[in-house]
């Protein structure tokens, strides 16, 4: 019988994709999930996908989540692949988070402070009990409203800085780098590190940040401040020459305040770790701030001993799109290389056998 | 002295956190000579070794090395590739902890062979022959040539490090407490070995040690350091038998009491 090599087959691929599409729709008797529902009711997922996809577009993120069947890494990947094709019209001015329309602002280092503690929308103080009544509930009872406090809400780090208690961030020279437009050159400047962390995998950031708390490169963090709310984005179009407001983004910003022992030229002061995330994302922003501070170890003359302090290690492995692609590429065919390995092992076996036979013959 | 010095340092200074580690250190090392730098921990002797070998940059002063062609090189003005090449060929460094320079996941033969290969050796059989000879020379059973260093005792590891360092026949070897972590009985054997090798190969060496007995056994000259300064220097026997500086006297007498 003549052997016919298996044709990988465009047909098989098309059928596999069709099957997946069918599975995505689920039971046709259940109504289809609309991206608007995801956008409105799975907001935290949308925000995570926007952060890891590096694109602030709630509607598109919701669509990506639907298309990816709730696989958030896959959804972020869809968003990234779309983002890369978009022309760049301009670059925004630095966002002014002191002018944030605050929804939430808490500090763990002061009992009270100008502007007060504002809890905002949170589940922080709930008991994590599955709410069996939730499916039956249509509208929750209305939350009580209050007038926003007109008092300014200075950032805690700025309050400490005014007293000279915080080591000022060394200013990076020139325009910050963009990792998506220029190849990263090691060692990365802080701006590039922050960008890498801001789009990093939340689980990875969490694990790395957590490891610093367990003694692997710890620096005694305090949550100086976490604030969340809308910040306006401004650009200066070339043809106008002055700044215009192009819309708002909702952000969570975290500044960790950490110990610092000082060096031969500097007195002991506090240092800060910085975290910024799209949407309401305390965990993400806090983790990022912990890792950012750990990565400053080298700059501060501290010993670099822990994984979270190793910028090359952290930033080379934080990106879940890169990681998932490379891990999953192992399912592509590798039979040519494997064949060469089989041949090599067989050669070694034959050699060992010949050796044993020769010895036996002696 | 007819030959010019191999290594010359003038006015070396260095401070950590405002604490001076080196203050105005002058030093000369002649070809084939072993110079012991002694002093208590914190006296600056390890800093001196690191500065002389280019691993640390001094705050002030200069260290010059004379290459086989007689050309002088300011160690701290050399381009990084040149300094690294020097460390791979003409120079050697023996650490107190051999794990710092050995590759623990590479066989004994591979460890000795690495410097040969870095110097361009490309004949497996020849590399193996040289590695075998070096293992014998440092009293390691050549049948262990394919064993990993992690199966070696502390003394064997130190001897393997020495074989690896000397395989390219360097002219100058920096030694940092080479017998530091070893039992007394193992130390004696190693010292004997090092003394023989240094003599036979005509190697010059800067040897840092806190142990005056080690200095007495290996070094022709000695420099006594305290607080980052060389307080006394001279022929080893002379300095140890008739110390002039009060600190040297104290050092020598405290050894005698032990």
């Amino acid at each position: 019988m003549a052997y016919v090599a298996v044709k990988g087959g465009e047909q098989a691929i098309a059928a596999a994709h069709a099957w997946r599409a069918e599975a995505r729709r689920g039971d046709p008797a259940v109504s289809k999930l609309e991206p608007a529902q995801i956008e409105g009711q799975l907001g935290r997922a949308v925000e995570r996908v926007m952060a890891e996809g590096s694109l602030y577009d709630r509607g598109l993120a919701a669509l990506a989540i639907a298309q990816a069947e709730g696989d958030l890494i896959e959804a972020a990947f869809l968003l990234r692949a779309y983002r890369t094709t978009l022309p760049r019209f301009g670059v925004s001015l630095p966002l002014d988070t002191t002018a944030m329309a605050i929804q939430r602002r808490i500090s763990a280092v002061f009992k009270d402070l100008p502007g007060g503690q504002v809890l905002g929308p949170t589940t922080d103080y709930t008991h994590r009990l599955i709410d069996f009544a939730l499916p039956a509930q249509d509208l929750p009872p209305a939350a009580p409203m209050a007038e926003p406090d007109p008092a300014p809400m200075p950032r805690v780090a700025d309050l400490l800085a005014a007293e000279g208690l915080i080591r000022p961030d060394p200013a990076d020279a020139g325009e910050p780098a963009d990792l998506t437009r220029a190849p990263p050159a090691l060692p990365l400047p802080r701006a590039a590190r922050l960008q890498g962390l801001a789009r990093g995998d939340e689980g990875f950031l969490l694990g790395m940040g957590y490891s610093t708390q367990r003694g692997y490169g710890g620096s005694h963090p305090f949550a100086g401040e976490i604030r969340m709310g809308a910040v306006s984005v401004e650009i200066i179009p070339d043809e106008l020459g002055f700044a215009i407001d192009i819309g708002d983004v909702v952000l969570t910003e975290c500044q960790m305040v950490n110990q610092f022992h000082g060096t031969k030229t500097e007195p002991a002061r506090f240092t800060t770790g910085y975290g910024l995330a799209f949407g309401q994302a305390d965990r993400r922003a806090m983790s990022m701030a912990l890792v950012d501070r750990a990565l400053q170890a080298g700059d501060l003359g501290e010993d670099v001993t822990a994984p979270a302090q190793d910028a090359e290690f952290v930033l080379s492995h934080a990106d879940n799109i890169e990681a998932t692609g490379f891990v999953e590429h192992l399912k592509l065919p590798h039979y040519v290389d494997f064949q060469s390995e089989i041949e090599a092992v067989r050669r070694l076996h034959a050699q060992a056998r010949a050796h044993a036979e020769a010895e036996a013959a002696e | 002295m007819t030959d010019p010095p191999l290594l010359s340092a003038r006015g070396l200074s260095l401070a950590f956190d405002r604490v001076p580690a080196l203050a105005g250190v002058d030093l000369d090392l002649w070809p084939g000579e072993v110079l012991a730098v002694v002093g208590e921990s914190g006296s600056g002797k390890t800093s001196l070794l690191n500065v002389l070998s280019g691993r640390l940059r001094p705050d002030g002063g200069v260290a010059c090395y004379r290459d086989p062609d007689g050309a002088l090189h300011d160690v701290h003005a050399m381009a990084a590739p040149d300094l690294r090449r020097l460390h791979r060929s003409d120079w050697g460094f023996v650490h107190q902890d051999p794990r710092q320079s050995l590759r623990m996941a590479v066989s004994a033969g591979g460890n000795v062979g690495e410097r040969l290969m870095a110097a361009g050796a490309r004949h497996y059989g020849d590399i193996r022959t040289v590695a075998t000879a070096w293992l014998e020379r440092v009293e390691i059973d050549p049948r262990r040539i394919d064993d990993l260093p992690r199966t070696f005792s502390g003394g064997m590891l130190q001897r393997l490090q020495i074989a690896r360092t000397l395989a390219t026949r360097p002219r100058l070897v920096f030694m940092d407490e080479p017998t530091g972590g070893l039992d007394v009985s193992v130390q004696a054997r190693l010292l004997d070995l090092v003394r023989g090798l240094v003599r036979d190969l005509g190697i010059a060496s800067v040897l840092v040690t806190h142990d005056l007995a080690v200095a007495r056994l290996l070094a022709q000259r000695i420099a006594v350091m305290r607080g980052g300064r060389v307080v006394e220097t001279g022929l080893t026997d002379q300095v140890l038998d008739d110390p002039q500086h009060p600190y040297t006297q104290l050092l020598v007498s405290s050894v005698l009491q032990v």
């Binding site: 019988m1 003549a2 052997y3 090599a5 990988g8 087959g9 691929i13 692949a81 983002r83 890369t84 094709t85 022309p87 437009r181 220029a182 190849p183 990263p184 090691l186 060692p187 090359e312 080379s316 799109i321 890169e322 998932t324 692609g325 490379f326 891990v327 999953e328 590429h329 192992l330 592509l332 065919p333 590798h334 039979y335 040519v336 290389d337 064949q339 060469s340 390995e341 089989i342 041949e343 090599a344 050669r347 070694l348 | 990084a80 590739p81 690294r84 090449r85 791979r88 590759r103 066989s107 033969g109 591979g110 690495e114 410097r115 290969m117 490309r122 004949h123 497996y124 059989g125 394919d146």
Partner: protein, 285 residues
Amino acid sequence: MNGYNFAYLDEQTKRMIRRAILKAIAIPGHQVPFASREMPLPYGWGTGGIQVTASILGSHDVLKVIDQGADDTTNAVSIRRFFARTAGVRTTTRTEDATVIQTRHRIPETTLTARQILVYQVPQPEPLYRLEPSRAEGRRMHGLAEYGAMHVKLYEDIARYGQVAISYDYPVMVNHRYLTSPSPIPAFDNPKLHRMPALQLFGAGREKRIYAIPPYTDVRSLDFEDHPFRPHRAQAACALCGARGSYLDEVIIDDRGGRMFVCSDTDYCAGRRAAGHVGTEGAAA
């Protein structure tokens, strides 16, 4: 395809990549960092090769894509279709007809010519990474041409196995200067790298590196004088076309240890059969 530029990438990006390619050609074997873009294919699935191909492709080019030497493997099909869709270029499975060949893990058996470009997909451009995981330190080693550690790896193999045990992604010295990964091609293919008339471009998307071997460049597989490099293949003839000099895939045909060997290069095999060569299991085409 609607809404996308020719060959997917915008022209500025292509220009940036072409600049990296030119630099890579100027310094054979040296890894040039480039601002790798997010692609609609996952990392590790050929994003580097695709970006290189997209940047050099013109409308008159004829593209061939292979994976494991075959035109019909899933990833080759996917990438070929990507360019058919986004660039509308002609595609082919015939090696001779292609002007650009994108490959994963093989070099075609048919000798390439000076009018062809071979684009490799590279998962890990740094040949030193298993010995030295820090890329910063690796760069230093390349800068100083400190490759002793790589020879130690070869030495250890010979000491342990009597021979070098690297069977694919076998490191090479390009133009007597840079230690280079040939990508995970079998060591059998390494001799083809040497003085190849075609331009060879290597793209690593996730690692953001491009490197090149210009036409007719010396490429030497690392070895020892008394243990010279030797390419290996299965000791068999292709069951379909009878070829004895090509790289062979092993196909398991039953659960009783039955197996046969067939050419990994499907186009080469088909060409031989068309020319009347027949193996033990093959039917004349």
